[in-house]
């Protein structure tokens, strides 16, 4: 080989090594943000950590005093061990009422001292609710990338009539205004901004210019003098700051096993994940659309979800939400699965293995396939799931 070419190749590889940016760690912002965007991330982080008290807006009914109280494990923006309560009304075959006028679907589990002094310690399940549900706190890593996936990409995975006869359907949920839903366990929320705008009133009882009145208590107005803070209690800019934080929060870096046998096992697990058709719903990758934010622009996101609703069987069924029937759930994102300590939408599974074994409905065949695997293959599949 020509010595000049060897030297050139060496220089090129050195250059490439030098250019390779370190992947952000958990809780860090996306790489390649502008200094202004990094500043927005930091500002949003401050609002995310802000602890509300009754005098500046907390409650009177609430679930938590800050965003960070729930999204904390293993770092800020992660999962949490809090489990909240939701309730809606479902009348077969298709009528779902989120019971907004009766305080639904989020039923607050705590109250400020002024409200407790009136004998109200939490919100009650609305009388007309037919189902209730428990919801665990999901990690938010990489959610900006999920937000940037075009609606058309999500819809391209739909198979509402099971045209390919694989027993797996998949349909998009819709927000009440008709937009394609993607956030929340039932995919009833269209955007990250919408989710954050509603999280303040629903979780902290903090009013905003977009939701300027306090939630009712079981559908009734607040007793007088139980809400000392004037409404709205935060600004739209505060919502935008928190949205910048969640938008720019980097996805979990892929786990790189040090031991060769672990890498081999995970690779075998990845193959089984596809063979068992887990990847039909837990779609490994999607691509974001055009975005003015460079690290969100046409990027591949390893979300491991199709963001569609699937029937998970009667054992997991709980509430309806918009188009989602009680037994339908959005395919859970497996991105960051390894940082979670409880599994399934309600946190009721203690291990990933238990969560897989409790899949039903459209996932029954894949679940049975998993159960039929040898111990070594089960270990391989679980090892693969530890890597994402």
């Amino acid at each position: 080989m020509n010595p000049k070419r060897v030297v050139g190749a060496l220089l090129l590889s050195l250059l490439l090594c030098g250019c390779e940016r370190k992947q952000p760690e958990l809780g860090e912002p996306l790489a390649n943000l502008t200094p202004e965007q990094r500043a927005q991330f930091q500002e949003g982080k401050t609002v995310f950590q802000r602890v509300f008290v009754p005098e500046d807006g907390l409650g009177p009914l609430f679930n938590s005093v800050s965003c960070a109280e729930c999204h904390e494990h293993p770092v800020l923006g992660g999962a949490g061990d809090e489990v909240e309560v939701h309730a809606t009304r479902f009348v077969a075959p298709d009528d779902c009422d989120p019971l907004f006028q009766e305080g639904g679907p989020v039923i607050q589990q705590d109250a400020t001292p002024l409200l407790r002094a009136r004998g109200i310690e939490k919100e009650q399940i609305p009388a007309s609710a037919t189902q209730q549900a428990r919801r665990s706190t999901p990690p938010l890593f990489g959610f900006g990338l999920v937000d940037a996936i075009p609606q058309a990409t999500i819809l391209s995975h739909e198979d509402p009539d099971d045209a390919n006869r694989d027993g797996i359907f998949g349909r998009a949920n819709r927000a009440i205004d008709g937009r394609v839903g993607r956030f929340g366990r039932k995919a009833a929320v269209a955007t990250l901004f919408d989710f954050n705008a509603g999280a303040f009133p629903d979780e902290q009882g903090v009013t905003t210019p977009l939701s300027p009145v306090e939630n009712t208590i079981d559908g009734k107005p607040l007793p007088p003098e139980t809400d000392p803070a004037p409404d709205p209690e935060i600004t739209v800019e505060d919502i935008e700051k928190v949205t910048a934080f969640t938008n720019f929060l980097a996805p979990p870096p892929p786990q790189r096993f040090k031991k060769r046998e672990d890498r081999t096992l995970a690779k075998r697990g990845q193959k089984l994940f596809i063979e068992l058709k887990c990847a039909v719903c837990h779609v490994p990758e999607m691509k974001t659309g055009p975005s003015p934010i460079k690290p969100l622009n046409r990027k591949t996101v390893a979300l491991y979800s199709d963001l569609l609703l699937h029937d998970m069987g009667p054992d997991l069924a709980d509430i309806c939400l918009n188009l989602a029937h009680p037994s339908e759930f959005r395919t859970e994102l497996l991105m960051g699965l390894r940082v979670r300590e409880q599994f399934l939408h309600d946190g009721s599974a203690a291990t990933v293995r238990e969560a897989i074994e409790r899949h039903g409905g459209e996932a029954s065949r894949s679940r049975d396939g998993f159960k039929a695997l040898s111990d070594k293959d089960k270990e391989a599949l679980l090892k693969f799931l530890q890597s994402i």
Partner: protein
Amino acid sequence: MRRMTLLMTIILAGALTLSLQAAEAQAANVEEIKFDLVGHTMGGREKSWKFQSVEQIKELVIKDIHMTEDGKARICTIALRLQASRKTGKYAAEARVEYARTAKGWRIKHIGLLSLEKIE
């Protein structure tokens, strides 16, 4: 007697004209607000409504319009009937629309969702 009848007729006609003009103005206001709402979002999470088209606003009734004391903002309280599609259902909402005075005229600053209920 004739004079009295004539006077009454004139007064009634005047009142009718004024109320018709008020109704026309109200209708024009309603249409203007509908257009203004498009592109804005109110509420949050499951209660978010982004106004994507005028067609989603099946009914809009102005309940109150007033200016703030400093004259910099105009507040409209409206009752709405909203529907995106037959599948997603029909909703009754009440909202407070805050307009701010800008160099280009009155522009919506934000829309506060006051109440929301699924009605169909």
